[in-house]
Symmetry: C2
Subunit: 414 residues, 2 copies
């Protein structure tokens, strides 16, 4: 298998350099011209690892790293993935379709994304019911587990997450107090609490994670905001009340294509006639595809990041009007860089909560995600929707106006 693996790498690596130390101790370079891309080195410890990389690379790169069969030498796993992704983007047919996970069949995608309420709850528990302390060791203080917003570029993670919440609040047009807001997939409650505290909204936040629910309720109580913010363990499909505003940040990735219609029907049904909704989610800046199988198996069962055309084909049928779409690109790469650094700084503590394999799994997930956003094929979209076009101002200038109008003492200093 070693010669087969070498043949694949020789054809594949044309930019930068990957030095491979084979199980027999020999080292071999696979490289493009000097200076043509990132460089990294790995040791492959055994024949089983080599075989896995040849037969099922999309799953095996991650699994071998977790198990220790694939070991980065003198560099983090990020650098190894950077070499691989750079070559995937540059090779192929000159088209971004050929990349990480593209080998995975289309047929898998529907089955993987079949998320009725019971399975949706188990899928969520898989990731979000991890020990709550884990998230405090790599996220910002507010536990925003979604793309931050870096208008200047050098903000701290805390400032960038605060900017993200302001940016979304501005798009929600919270122009008077006591507007009712539904937050679908409220996480640990940071967005809901901010909308209540800083923008005078009355919020219902729903989640399927018991860990998140308990933490969110504790935070509301600690801030004395229980009267303005309720948190409930509820599936989005079970909401029947109506709200002035609906927001959903980083939850749509878990919905699954077959359930998009139910998601938009919920938004259509629960949004008041003059309401405004904002959907913030990860998408692929390319044609529809399927989720990388390693990511489905270890991190987000049932998860999928759609192409925009898949989302809009459903939203157009919902009867809601599109009123704006923003594409955030490098913001998530920056966010993930911050998370990766914080994770590394707290690695010993995290290893003591879990184990070495868990740490490697999480590192692979953070590094792979960052590379995907930096190398272009992934992005975040913010889709604004309404029943009536008069629900939002005629130009987009109000967004910056609201962002700049937030009292200085409420801003987190950079």
């Amino acid at each position: 298998m070693q010669s087969a693996c070498a043949a694949v790498l020789k054809r594949f690596i044309r930019h930068g350099r990957l030095r491979v130390h084979w199980p027999d101790g020999q080292a071999q370079d696979f490289a493009g011209p000097p200076g043509s891309g990132p460089e990294a080195a790995v040791r492959l410890h055994d024949a089983r690892t080599v075989r896995g990389l040849v037969l099922n690379p999309t799953l095996s790169v991650g699994e071998s790293y977790m198990d220790g069969g694939l070991e980065p030498l003198g560099c983090p796993i990020y650098d190894v993935l950077d070499v691989l992704m750079t070559n995937l983007m540059a090779n192929g047919d000159g088209h971004p379709a050929a990349r990480f996970g593209a080998a995975v069949g289309w047929a898998r995608r529907r089955l993987d994304q079949f998320n009725p309420a019971g399975r949706a709850r188990r899928n969520v528990a898989h990731h979000y019911d991890l020990n709550g302390r884990l998230y405090s060791l790599f996220l910002d203080r507010d536990r925003q587990y979604s793309c931050a917003y870096f208008p200047r570029g050098d903000e701290t993670l805390e400032a960038a997450q605060a900017a993200k919440k302001r940016h979304i609040a501005a798009k929600l047009c919270l122009d008077r107090p006591d507007l009712s807001v539904l937050d679908i997939g409220c996480g640990w409650g940071g967005m809901a609490l901010t909308l209540a505290r800083d923008f005078g909204a009355k919020v219902l936040g729903i989640t399927l994670s018991v860990e998140q629910l308990n933490e969110a309720r504790a935070r509301a109580a600690a801030e004395g905001l229980q009267e303005r913010v309720r948190f409930e363990l509820r599936d989005y499909r079970a909401v029947n009340e109506r709200f002035d505003r609906i927001v959903s940040v980083g939850m749509f990735e878990h919905v699954g294509v077959d359930h998009y219609r139910a998601f938009f029907e919920t938004m259509h049904r629960c949004l008041n006639p003059d309401g405004v909704a904002l959907l913030h989610a990860i998408g692929r800046n390319e044609q529809p595809g399927s989720t990388n199988p390693w990511l489905t198996k270890y991190i987000f069962p049932g998860g999928y990041c759609p192409a925009m055309s898949e989302v809009l084909a459903v939203s157009e049928r919902s009867g809601l009007l599109l009123t704006d779409i923003e594409i955030l690109r490098l913001h998530y790469a920056e966010t993930l860089r911050h998370w990766r650094r914080r994770f590394a700084a707290n690695r010993d503590t995290i290893a003591s909560l879990y184990d070495e394999r868990f740490c490697r799994m999480f590192e692979f997930y953070l590094a792979g995600s960052e590379i995907s956003f930096r190398r272009e094929n992934m992005m975040v979209f913010q889709i604004q929707l309404a029943h009536r076009q008069e629900a939002v101002p005629i130009t987009r200038d109000y967004i910056a106006a609201v962002e700049n109008a937030v009292p200085r003492d409420r801003r987190v200093s950079a």
Copy 2:
């Protein structure tokens, strides 16, 4: 047929009021509760008109108005269409799918939109090779025949068209002089001349209309801009040069769904690696459909305004990255209102250039279009595309910054 027509109207009109004067001299009201919507009155002069309205309403309303068989009484045709559209939006299945032209079969849409180069040229000539003087009698001085931009809401048409060009120029990131720009569907050259004069670009504008080409070239010569702006009679599929920027305003409506792939392939092929492209076109803020048959027959043969999902499904496959999407809504209703008023003010002159029937045809087109934008189902999208995400700034704030930085003396005063 009169009783059949009355039965249809009785079921259909539930908001506002339509008073119908039948050929026999009898008048009959079809109405919802008082104050429930707009009101209008029509006279139907003969049995042929009544029959057409029952058997083929989407084509016959416009044709009867053109032929004089349907005559608005004491109000413009706009008011009659307002009553009809208000009821179409409110009735149906409570969903914007049921509306003006929705009865038209899906099957027609591909045939109608089959636009190879020869037919594309004939289709363009049908509308744009009309006597050049006509357009000077209802458009602004710069002959911008596309949606203007009304950030304040009370701008003159001249100021709003200047604001539209600035808005698009800002999104093109013309951050240094001498950038090469391809303008696909350049019309009478207003956008190309502005980009050269005010933003230092070197522009190639292409059109399929001989009238537009001659006028655009004459304007470039009159302004002494021949060195910076070239105009050519060329199909977009025949462009092979590369450009730093590509802009296309109000031309995509003529492309046809089967040719979207060729359009985006042209953009992909002709855009430099660090380039930015901006596509501005009319779309439907609802699911895909087909063009109203009256509009296809009399105004825009081969024309179609797509749903966003139809456009993005193709652009995602092109290899270009989406970097922003803005949805302009009431801006076009305002633009059309200005055009309709100018047309009315110059009606005698236009009738002497053409005839009464032409005037009615054009009035029906302008009024029907304005209603479509005001009653929500139509919009304009501005899609920004690039090969690389670094081609545009990380936030959208640069757009307002560029708009506000234009020297005051270059602004058209409101």
